[in-house]
Symmetry: C4
Amino acid sequence: MADLDALIEDLVAANRILANENVVDAFGHVSVRHPVDAGRYLMSRAKSPELVESADIMEFTLEGAPCNADGRKPYLERFIHGALYEARPDIQCVVHNHSRSVIPFGISGEKLRPVMHSCATIGHEVPVWDAQDAFGDTDLLISDMLMGRDFARVVGNGTCALMRGHGCTVTGKSIREAVYTAIYLELNAELQWKASHFGKLKFLSPGEIEKINSRLGQARPGEGYDRSWEYWRRRAGIASKRG
Amino acid sequence: MADLDALIEDLVAANRILANENVVDAFGHVSVRHPVDAGRYLMSRAKSPELVESADIMEFTLEGAPCNADGRKPYLERFIHGALYEARPDIQCVVHNHSRSVIPFGISGEKLRPVMHSCATIGHEVPVWDAQDAFGDTDLLISDMLMGRDFARVVGNGTCALMRGHGCTVTGKSIREAVYTAIYLELNAELQWKASHFGKLKFLSPGEIEKINSRLGQARPGEGYDRSWEYWRRRAGIASKRG
Amino acid sequence: MADLDALIEDLVAANRILANENVVDAFGHVSVRHPVDAGRYLMSRAKSPELVESADIMEFTLEGAPCNADGRKPYLERFIHGALYEARPDIQCVVHNHSRSVIPFGISGEKLRPVMHSCATIGHEVPVWDAQDAFGDTDLLISDMLMGRDFARVVGNGTCALMRGHGCTVTGKSIREAVYTAIYLELNAELQWKASHFGKLKFLSPGEIEKINSRLGQARPGEGYDRSWEYWRRRAGIASKRG
Amino acid sequence: MADLDALIEDLVAANRILANENVVDAFGHVSVRHPVDAGRYLMSRAKSPELVESADIMEFTLEGAPCNADGRKPYLERFIHGALYEARPDIQCVVHNHSRSVIPFGISGEKLRPVMHSCATIGHEVPVWDAQDAFGDTDLLISDMLMGRDFARVVGNGTCALMRGHGCTVTGKSIREAVYTAIYLELNAELQWKASHFGKLKFLSPGEIEKINSRLGQARPGEGYDRSWEYWRRRAGIASKRG
């Protein structure tokens, strides 16, 4: 299937882009919903994202059962992905990461909110999920569907949520959109942290967020998510697409 | 026209320098006034600055109408450029960007002022334009001449202005001067932010700013803007000029 | 001995990884306990870690006497390593470094504690050793076994300790574990510093730390320390292992 | 003269090392006293340090008169160098730069003091020179011997001084020593800034500073300044020395 091959190629690119932009390091993962079977998703075997290749991409049921393991070991935290695809039919891509600037907002009570127009896709305020609330002392990893569903509940209708003492998870209606939001969530966290030094801030208003996201959703090919995708591909050293 | 070709070559170099120095990323743009027709300006088609080549450079009227589109799509925010060329005959180059350190100053009320001699071209105090003031909830982009002219009014006689929740725009009497100020505006913002941690600061005095800028304006070839231009070209991997 | 050769190869890799991840610069060192003789350890001659090669690895008694000097000069501070191997039979690897983010915690009284799950191996709270306490004005270096043993006492049963005005030392049950903790100690310091700007933080609980470390200790080959080791090797440009 | 050639080779290396370590950018300069004629010093023509080659090195009298210009233009601020060589026969090398972290200490009144052992060569407290004090509004540059001598007076018996709204100048008994102190002055400024967030700090004591510098001064070949010099050379991509 040419479509599936192209999607896998994009998923591999997403892995490498997120590594190159310091959103993931040895850990973190990105998945995409299966283009034909909405009850399945695609994700690499357990491996550092920077090293992921097409042959690493596995298929999973939403419950996280590997469909074509062939001896490949899955990520322990794949339940984050399945639970979000299960709860939200509109989500096509999920990025889970521990990027540096989001951590302080997960452990301090400071609310993460958009400080600039390019970060509007993170939504009006980013919720924080704390494994302690429902599960007490854990190793903080989302290692079954029970935890995955509890996390998906906190994401709600938003695009992302922080995880206390752990990181964050970002979703999108496409790979490009989720990668975009993951990169700009990290940037927003960095900038809000810096700006907060000066006291009370003027965040984007709900009306501004809506207008920005509406324009992004209507962007013509080559604009918006496409332009940044092409830029990040180049920075990550990924050759131009075939044909 | 050899002059026009050389100017376009410099404009392409400016795109790549600004990307390499982290002043622009996937977004941001730089233009130059047409060397023969002061009622026109040159700027790339909509594209990430790092990827811009000579063939991407288009010509626009000050109102933002493309003169030689040939299917190339212009930047949505080109009205920033036209409005500034219209209001200020002395301006020959305009840089618009979202560099990271300026954002906190646009959303906090903290005034951006020069902390060191190499940043004197930003002026005594950098004004902040807020789209909310005259236009209410928008997507924050300057997408027509009405907004462009309102922004140009805030720039006034200065060299630059911040845009709340968006970024900044810098102007110059030449490409080299505007690129210089864009890079040092970002640096000044970073350093002022750091220094403000220690309390009240001693900024450059108006007399110092005047003397520094006066010397820069009289620099001999190879000095001042020229030396930094050559340095940034090298860092961006741009080969030495022909002949 | 194939085993010894493989261990030396890993020790050289550790040197280069720690340099590439900015944990060491021109200074800092890493050692491993001898695989056959528990009363000896292996460490490079005095040299910047980034430049270390197999031929630089020397053997020492726990008291720091070179066993095979061959004209090679040892690190002045090797007593840190020997004293820790002497005090703690479980320790197999020691990393000493001056990474940037740990310094503020060594001179301010602020306690360094784990802010995220991947940093749990640093323990509940990192102790600080101050050469002033027992030795008065010194050049701060641990230059004999008396100082080394005093430092080992402060490490106690933990994995690491800070050294006031100097840096830190990290231990592990393997090279991979010590390198992992050294890199994440630096990251934790950076993130705790940033987060502390927002006031009171929620650190990992003792129960969470225990559960995370328990899972890490039981990780299957290719998981946990192995995954990050492979990732850091690639980043440092170290070719895949032989056969 | 083989000695002179070797010194010039080291001076070129110093230029490139300082650029590579972000101590200088397009601006900044480093000089060395003439090995035979103590009344003269060697320094590049006006050029970005990263681009300096042997053919750029000029000779100057202490008053700043070029001895062998051959059409090459000198740095405007060369008087910093001459005034220091004139005032202090022990100084063999001078580095002037605008590295980023020192700026906040020059404009805020916060005293820069050593926070860690590798930064002890900056001395107990770094003085600040303000051109305003004796000269009122200037362009902040040290553009004649009058200003140079005023600055040398503030350096006094120390190794370095900050310049308000401008940068700093560092001296050494050798190229390696001055380069070392310039790099660690920048690091100390960064770390002190970070640590000051936590309140009152424990700086190195005068006794510790003395002991550390005493050991550095007695270091054997290959140790101390030599080890970091070799490391920085490698990082800057400078090939190993001839024969």
